[in-house]
């Protein structure tokens, strides 16, 4: 790389190489634009940089456990179920990247090429018309400037390329998509489905749609990806490219065009705003290794650093024109952050179906689409929750005694009765009082620490109680026994679905982005990650970020052609 301004000038800069940034990069590169992807973490190349991917359980020194010193040094990330001996290399460690918790918030991050796309649980449900209409109908946040119809073709577009396995369920509030064959529910999940659908006219149990190649199509083979082999060791990185990640899919695809420059170890400090031109001209980067500052320039800038880091970059992008952060005349930047309510679970046992068990593994499980307040307001809380549902059978053995009897017992485990479990995924209401801001302390790269002020509210507490009561009832109606509801009281953040702070809206006075994810007040800067979310709905959000990113990138290409940017 040369060092003249010209050498550091591109058509487009994309900040972040995770799920949303990967999609933006792919679209721009395919359209022939010279694209610079700035990624703060190291490079992670598909397969080559998955050191644990083919390890057998006995090849891990601690057989998957984490050393005590690692757990003690990382109280936040250690709470994440996916953080283990096989995956530590893909998670941010607490000490390396501190932040300020004014209220408890577990911020789970992945700083590397691919971001959290390596680690995600790959659940991909579409939003429905009822989700986009939510804020307007129920009078919270601001109206979404788009509707389901705007985004539906882009869902189809990203689903075809990413590869989504699912069944056509025909539900108006969880629209079908472009699916590869779904993974089946097991015998007890099917039984529960029948029981629920008989007992309630508006509740369904389906197979969770997931970003796995159950039956790869030519476009997937062309990406170098192959059929998912049911390993369910995805968080290590998949040698088959069986699940969607930036590393297996969008980034190599973008690279193949010859238009991609991927620059790892590039911490974006801020966006450079030019008052004369009335737009952004580039970004200031701190090199992760040398800590030197370097500027890069482009006509269009996409901010895809994952919701809260996107807020951080924009809040830190101050200028004479925008002293409170880029495009932030309204003062709304950093506010109305929301998340998903993952606090409660319900478990139980089922004594039927004794003649069956499961064989092999499956990268998804059952999913119960939201059934509360979908078509009209029915309860004493706003919005509702979806839920995961799974049934499984363990083999266990008595560990009493020693010698041959103990060994015989261990080597001949007994199949236990079926266990069933569910976890909630609730919508939270974005509020001004849930916000992030900049601390006066700075990190090793000269960036202010992010200060997080996010908490549950009364609506959340009511929703948790309703989920526990309703799921318990549904379990009991199905004849499940030992039904237990459990509220983990976990802090917000562990859902890893933090959203908002740079919300979309129709009015620049109450929102930052227009219906194209374009900053109202700085038209060549776009935000298409979770920061742009006006409300959260209940679905796992990343599929929506993909669709947003592809749609906005294609709009930006058109606007560039028209000379509008």
């Amino acid at each position: 790389m040369g060092d003249t301004i010209k050498d550091r000038t591109y058509d487009v800069i994309v900040i972040g190489s995770g799920i949303s940034g990967g999609w933006a990069a792919k679209e721009f590169c395919e359209k022939g634009l010279k694209t610079l992807v700035l990624e703060r973490g190291r490079d992670v190349q598909h397969i080559k940089d998955y050191p644990t991917t083919n390890k057998m359980p006995w090849e891990f020194t601690l057989r998957g456990n984490l050393p005590l010193d690692v757990r003690e040094a990382n109280p936040v990330v250690s709470k994440c179920y996916a953080f283990g001996e096989a995956t530590t290399q893909f998670f941010v460690k607490d000490k390396e990247h501190p932040y300020v918790q004014e209220k408890p918030f577990d911020w789970i991050r992945g700083y590397q090429v691919g971001g959290k796309s390596l680690l995600w649980a790959r659940q991909t449900q579409r939003w429905s018309p009822y989700d986009f209409e939510g804020p307007a109908r129920d009078g919270f946040a601001v109206d979404w400037p788009i509707r389901y119809e705007d985004i539906a073709p882009w869902y189809s577009y990203v689903e075809k390329f990413a590869g989504i396995a699912g069944d056509k369920d025909g539900l108006p509030h969880l629209p079908d998509g472009e699916f590869l064959p779904g993974f089946p529910l097991n015998v007890v999940e099917k039984y529960f489905k029948q029981s629920v659908e008989k007992a309630y006219k508006d509740r369904y149990v389906i197979s969770g749609r997931c970003a796995h190649l159950s039956q790869p199509q030519p476009v997937h083979l062309e990406q170098g990806r192959a059929k998912c082999q049911n390993r369910t060791l995805c968080e290590r990185g998949c040698p088959f490219g069986g699940y969607f990640s930036s590393n297996a899919s969008t980034i190599p695809w973008a690279a193949k065009t010859g238009n991609l420059t991927l620059r790892p170890n590039s911490v974006v400090h801020s966006i450079i705003y030019d008052e004369q031109k009335g737009k952004a001209t580039g970004v200031k980067v701190i090199d992760n290794n040398t800590k030197d500052a370097i500027d890069f320039y482009a006509k269009v800038i996409f901010v895809n650093a994952a919701a809260l880091n996107t807020n951080l970059i924009l809040l830190n992008s101050t200028s004479h024109r925008f002293p409170n952060g880029l495009g932030n005349d309204s003062g709304v930047l950093g506010k109305y952050v929301a998340f998903h309510l993952y606090r409660a679970r319900v478990s139980g046992e089922y004594e039927g179906a004794g003649e069956f068990t499961t064989d092999g593994r499956r990268p998804t499980s059952g999913y119960i689409p939201r059934f509360r307040n979908v078509f009209r307001q029915e309860t004493d809380f706003l919005r509702g929750y979806a839920a995961g549902f799974g049934a499984y059978r363990n083999e266990e053995s008595s560990k009493d005694g020693f010698g041959m009897p103990l060994k015989q017992s261990l080597l001949n485990p007994k199949l236990q009765s079926w266990k069933v479990g569910s976890h909630m995924m609730g919508e939270t209401i974005p509020k001004e009082t849930n916000f992030v801001s900049l601390d006066s302390k700075k990190d090793d790269w000269g960036m202010p620490l992010l200060k997080v002020n996010i908490d549950y509210d009364d609506n959340d507490e009511k929703m948790i109680r309703d989920y526990m009561a309703q799921m318990t009832e549904m379990f009991e109606k199905a004849g499940f026994i030992n039904v237990k509801a459990y509220d983990s009281k976990q802090a917000p953040g562990l859902d890893i679905h933090e959203m908002g702070g740079v919300r979309m809206g129709r009015d620049p006075k109450t929102s930052l982005l227009n219906k194209w994810h374009q900053m109202h007040l700085c038209k060549n800067v776009f935000v298409t990650d979770g920061a742009s979310m006006t409300s959260t709905s209940t679905q796992n959000p990343s599929l929506t970020y993909m669709a947003f990113s592809a749609r906005a990138a294609n709009y930006a290409v058109e606007e560039l052609k028209k000379g509008n940017l």
């Binding site: 083919n54 082999q229 049911n230 069956f356 499961t358 064989d359 092999g360 261990l410």
Partner: protein, 179 residues
């Protein structure tokens, strides 16, 4: 005060066997690299025999075949706090003392019957608190190491890295048992 309830012939003074002559030799070290606990080669041998008494070799592998005792050591060294580590090493020495007191021999040098006698006492909670803590930790970790080892998880239970299938209604009677 739990200690006082220990059966009389098993009553030992903590640390009674701490200074074995072999401990004085620097090279007398455990074969796994330990950062937080001190275990000599002799103690490692004792743990190996202890693990083997828990899970003896027969037509199927024993604990020693799977290095389950080394797994236990690594786990104790890296995954437990100081208090648990102290209980483990202290209890380990107490178990040696139990053997010494009962049969005037080391655990490694004892006969199978003598080892069984000590484990029976431990299993029946007839030992000091530290010895029982050691037993609980060592037993759980030996079982964990054994069940996740290649000879057991790989060769007996046929663990599959790449199953390539999911059957959600698999008839139970077709499960073939191994051992």
């Amino acid at each position: 005060m739990e200690r006082r309830t220990a059966v009389k012939y098993l009553f030992v003074i903590a640390g009674g066997t701490a200074v074995l002559p072999s401990c004085l030799h620097k090279e007398n070290k455990a074969s796994v690299l330990l950062k937080n606990i001190a275990v000599t080669a002799d103690q490692e041998t004792m743990l190996a025999e202890f693990a083997e008494t828990l899970l003896p070799a027969s037509s199927t592998p024993g604990a020693k075949d799977t290095y389950a005792h080394l797994h236990a050591l690594r786990m104790m060294d890296q995954c437990f706090d100081k208090d648990a580590q102290k209980k483990f090493t202290g209890g380990m020495k107490e178990v040696e003392s139990m053997m010494k007191k009962a049969h005037n021999t080391t655990f490694a040098g004892a006969s199978a019957a003598q080892r069984s006698e000590i484990l029976t006492a431990l299993e029946n909670k007839k030992a000091s608190e530290d010895a029982l803590q050691f037993y609980k930790l060592m037993k759980n970790l030996t079982i964990q190491g054994y069940l996740t080892s290649k000879p057991v998880l790989g060769d007996i239970f046929h663990y599959e890295l790449v199953p390539g299938r999911y059957n959600g209604a698999f008839p139970v009677k077709t499960i073939i048992h191994q051992a």
